[in-house]
Amino acid sequence: MPEQMIVTGGLVIDPARKLEAVRDVLIEDGRISAVAAGLHRKPSLKGVPSIDAKGKWVIPGLVDMHVHLREPGREGDETIATGTKAAARGGVTTVLAMANTEPVCDTPSQLSFLRAKARTDAAITVLFAGAVTLGQKGEKLTEFAKLRAAGAAALSDDGRPLMNAGLLRRALEYAKDLGLLVIDHCEDLSLSNGACVHEGPAALRKGLKGTPWAAETVQVVRDIALAELTGARLHIAHVSAAASVDAIRAAKKRGIRITSEAAPHHFALNDKDLPGYDADWKMNPPLRGADDRLALLAGLADGTIDAIATDHAPHGCAAKSLGMDLAPFGVIGLETSLAVALTDLFHKKVLTRRKLVERLSSGPAGLLGLKAKGTLAPGSDADVVVVDPDAIWTPEAPFLSKSRNTPFAGRRLKGRAVTTLSGGRVVHAL
């Protein structure tokens, strides 16, 4: 007998199949085996363990293509074990871990080690990005083919921008041949130089050094040109500025193979929300102006922004207590991304529920070429989330993440994951 489970009576939302209807979902041996009405009444399925999803949504697990798990090197801030538990709680069943660990994930052996670690420690699926350059120094390309053979799911120097355009050009050309996605953190360091917040009135009022939106956009525009030149796929991480969204929209219209993601803190908050000098609100790129936030909403709505990704970046309290100017950049986000997206995108009518699931799940799965993720089609991995879209709750410490650096602590949110299944196993249940 196969190991079975049935999720009954929920509103199944599967954008990949344009399905939005009340259905039962049958899981067998870690895969979706059937999605249909009234499965639970079938005599052959009597006695199969079930999860009642009546009045709730049933969606494919979230794919978060931008997280930092800090292992190896900074296990005090996060590990694969704690980061993936946090993810499960937030309805995230696949993450792409960035390569800026200590040491940097820039060799096949490092990648193999991490994948083995994930097999034993992770509650969900963990994919790993390999670095684009050795040590993320921006000088010499890593061995892309070997990294791909060792299982790299994408290439990125995230945490640092690829400042050298000539090097990025070669990276895109090699990656294109290998079918690998290059993800760029767009920031011109000569413009952002030492800043801790967005350059604008809020920074001037507080006397803090700001980085202009143009620090991002000049690199985005350069990247678009290089994507056009090489014909390669290029993905822009954590887009934050209105002008970047405009540039990406225009590039897509011209058929350039560029994609992008936005983070919940960027589309839910702006620089005026920053309370005092709390470094739990310090991230890179920073919270931008009110108009930038509106542009992100428009970009999410029209598909200019393909994916919602958290840029989950855990830092311990000691580091974050150093103050706005000295504390490291980054906020955690895995436990709140679905809830913030529901609160600020679905309930505020920026996105329909189908588009919301697309940006959170099928969209990023498609960008990473994951055939068995981001959908509930029979045969795919049984990564399933039961969502209560109307549950009111307030994220507060303790978090399942080892760190607690989030601007959403204490904020009233509407909607959350009730149950999360990864490969058919329950990895989170309220």
Binding site: L204, D278, D325, L326
Partner: protein, 307 residues
Amino acid sequence: MAPTTWERKDLLGLEGLSAAEIETILDLAASFKTAPPADDLGGRTVAFIFTEASTRTRSSFEMAAKRLGADVLSFSPVGSSLSKGETLLDTFLNLQAVGVTHFVVRHERSGVLEELAPLLKASVINAGDGWHEHPTQALLDLLTLRDRWGSFKGRKIVVLGDIRHSRVARSNLFALKKLGAKVVFCGPTPLCPDDFSALGATVEHDVEKALKGADAVNVLRLQIERMDQGFVPSLADYALSYQLTPARADLMKPEALVLHPGPINRGVEIASEVADGPRSVILEQVANGVLARMAVLSLCEKGRSLA
């Protein structure tokens, strides 16, 4: 005596104060000119924590504390250990434990006191934090202007120079706006970005236009290192466009005043003839500094006993 609208133990900035609170400080400071100060801080200890050197502000505060009868404790921060937030709190808590009742703090980081002050029983007085605020410097500017004018309503005050990096400019703006004055920020765009208009300032990059019809100009010191950081191409180039020369000063109202927080770079941001000329109230500012700081220490002491 001053009206009893003051209930704070700390003075971290002027942005959060009401006009009435600012007037309360100014009234008390002005009263010290005629009535000798009471022994308001008798038996109290004021500690000075300065991670940046500032002889002027510090000696002005020390004088103020002593005239109110306080003991003064000088604390020399060791190297850079104070630049870390948690270490700074430890320092405060230890000094508080040995009897310090007031901290006067100069720190190179903006906003560093906002999280620390609520954790202390002692009063915390901001003597300049990063590029953020320098409230007592603005208060002494206000005191100097009010002595001449009586009221700020309808007055036009130009702040000239490196506004971006100036805590004096911010504190002046926040307070002067509350008291009904018009504040014009003037300087080259890298040092005086247009975004300041969102904070209520009028931003003007043409110094002649800015000064026309002004009641006062507050000339800021140009830090020489801004040249290396690329904010100005050279001191001479800056001086050509923005130095307060006698001709430019004459564009203001005939009775207009010239202020400067010091120390002055003569021949850079201001010409000597203007700094030493009849419009200049720079030495009055220094004298008023002691009075303004006495008023702040005294009021915060009262606020501390309320808490």
